[in-house]
Amino acid sequence: MRFMYIVTPAHPVPPTTELMEAVHKLADREIKAGHMLDSGALMPRTLGAQVRITDGKLSVIDGPFVEAKEVIGGYAIFELRDKEEAVAKAVEFMQVHRDHMPGWEGTCEVRAFAGP
């Protein structure tokens, strides 16, 4: 099964070098183990936009375009056995955040791909 991970920090604080190193090490391991198919870093949400439909009305919520130049989130696509394995990977990934950047808060959303 394929899973998409979307990591969104609660605060627009760039990760410390230590956290980045730990995350890269983990990512390297997952690529070599054949689990991680694709990944990318994301800029803060404020640099993007949300296009929504509510009550039949379409609205564009644009980012305020503050002076944020730091990457603060990311996505990854994994090929795994099942949801349990996907969650276990996410737990391990978030534990790395706790270990290497105390005070970091955020979410790792795990979404399963539709398909065979």
Partner: protein, 419 residues
């Protein structure tokens, strides 16, 4: 969470940690099958404790501590049997000193050890079936029951296969060895063969609805990806990965809603997985950089790449495909490859040229009972307007076809009116 949920969570966590456990343990015990036994024991311990204690924050360290303790017991027992008392004491001391390294080993680059593990599991001394079972168990962390279900065999058959294979390795002193440089390519082919066997077992599955059959494709792909990271200079490793990624990219398009197979040229190409095609093309690019485009897997991958890159079936580069088949046929003499070449030639140059190749295969013993020979021949004759001969060929093919769906298809073709 139900007990079953907890069990699945534990298994998932264990599977993440297993490669590092088994490689670290192999390094210290110098015995891969024994190391694998110990990782199983660590799993049992987790199943026993975690439902009450919860999954520890550092599950890897927890499992390693258990396995380490069991490993020490093993070493002690072995030395009791093999050596004099005074030597035991000294060795134990050294073991104690070596202990901290085991923890560090959890973070080490496990590449070399993993390579050794794969080469041991896929030793040419073992049958292909035994290699496949051992690889799924030791490298992919599948349980015996899962392997049995995937191969549609009884649990006992697989269990016995694994036990025998491990015993063979231990008794022949091959429990811990890495091939020397010169041997690497030769030994690698026995690994790649097994990986491809696992992939095809899942890919060509006409039987078995269980999710574990497609899972075999994923496991094979995963070993393929692992191999490209630990043997990055071997072009055929990238060739096999390219072949598997490109073939797997068509999974969603291969059957219709009722499960009937759809032939490649008739598939909805919008359903082909572009991420996987991109990965396949990257692997093929790596093959070319390594000067390995003429390899067995690389050529097959290049053929599939021609299909993957054609936006529509009409845009398929048949002359290139037929050229690649000619190269492949020159590399490996196989009537099946020759038959495939005939199909490509039929598309590139027309039915007449193809029929010459097919008729040359008429007396091949390997194709005597192969229904696709008659099927291809019937198609070529039909296109040449030789309808009576075409009908006879399709009917003969239908009689040889193994499953009903194929028989129906061939009978329909036999009944086709002249074009």
């Amino acid at each position: 969470m139900t007990a079953a949920d907890i069990h699945r969570t534990i298994l998932a966590v264990w599977r993440i940690e297993q490669p590092r456990l088994i490689t670290s343990l192999s390094r210290m015990l110098r015995d891969v099958p024994l190391a694998e036994d110990l990782t199983q024991e660590a799993l049992l311990a987790a199943v026993e404790h975690w439902p009450t204690t919860g999954v520890p924050e550092k599950p890897g360290a927890w499992l390693m501590a258990i396995a380490k303790r069991r490993a020490l017991d093993q070493l002690r027992r072995r030395r009791m049997l093999e050596r004099k008392h005074d030597i035991i004491a000294r060795d134990m001391e050294q073991d104690q000193q070596a202990m901290p390294d085991w923890d560090a080993a959890l973070d080490d680059d496990i590449g070399d050890e993993l390579l050794r593990l794969i080469f041991t599991a896929c030793h040419p001394l073992l049958s292909r079936e035994a290699r496949a079972a051992l690889a799924l168990r030791m490298i992919c962390g599948l349980t015996t029951e899962e392997i049995a279900r995937a191969f549609l065999l009884p649990d006992a058959t697989i269990a016995q296969r694994i036990v025998r294979a491990k015993r063979t390795l231990s008794e022949s002193g091959l429990a811990y060895e890495t091939p020397r440089r010169g041997e690497l390519s030769e030994r690698l082919s026995s690994v790649l063969e097994v990986v491809y066997l696992i992939f095809n077992e899942g890919y060509t599955a006409a039987r078995g609805e269980h999710w574990l059959r497609p899972q075999l494709c994923h496991e094979a792909l995963r070993i393929g990806r692992v191999l490209t990271s630990i043997a990055p200079q071997e072009p055929e490793v990238h060739g096999l990965l390219a072949l598997m990624e490109l073939n797997a990219s068509r999974t969603a398009a291969r059957t219709d809603a009722s499960g009937e197979p759809i032939l490649m040229l008739e598939q909805d190409r919008a359903l082909w997985d572009q991420l996987q095609i991109r990965r396949g093309m990257q692997a093929l690019g790596r093959v070319r950089e390594l000067d390995g485009a003429g390899g067995f897997y690389a050529l097959q991958a290049a053929i599939i790449a021609c299909h993957a890159q054609a936006a529509t079936a009409d845009e398929t580069d048949w002359p290139r495909i037929s050229g690649l088949y000619a190269e492949l046929a020159a590399l490996v003499r196989s009537p099946i490859i020759e038959l495939n070449r005939a199909v490509a030639v039929g598309m590139a140059e027309g039915p007449e040229a193809a029929l010459v190749i097919v008729d040359g295969l008429a007396n091949e013993p390997a194709l005597k009972t192969y229904h696709l020979l008659g099927s291809v021949r019937g198609d070529l004759l039909h296109r040449l307007g030789r309808h009576a001969e075409a009908r006879a060929a399709f009917e003969a093919a239908a009689a040889l076809a193994g499953n009903r769906r194929e028989q129906d298809l061939l009978r329909r073709r036999a009944a086709e009116p002249p074009a």
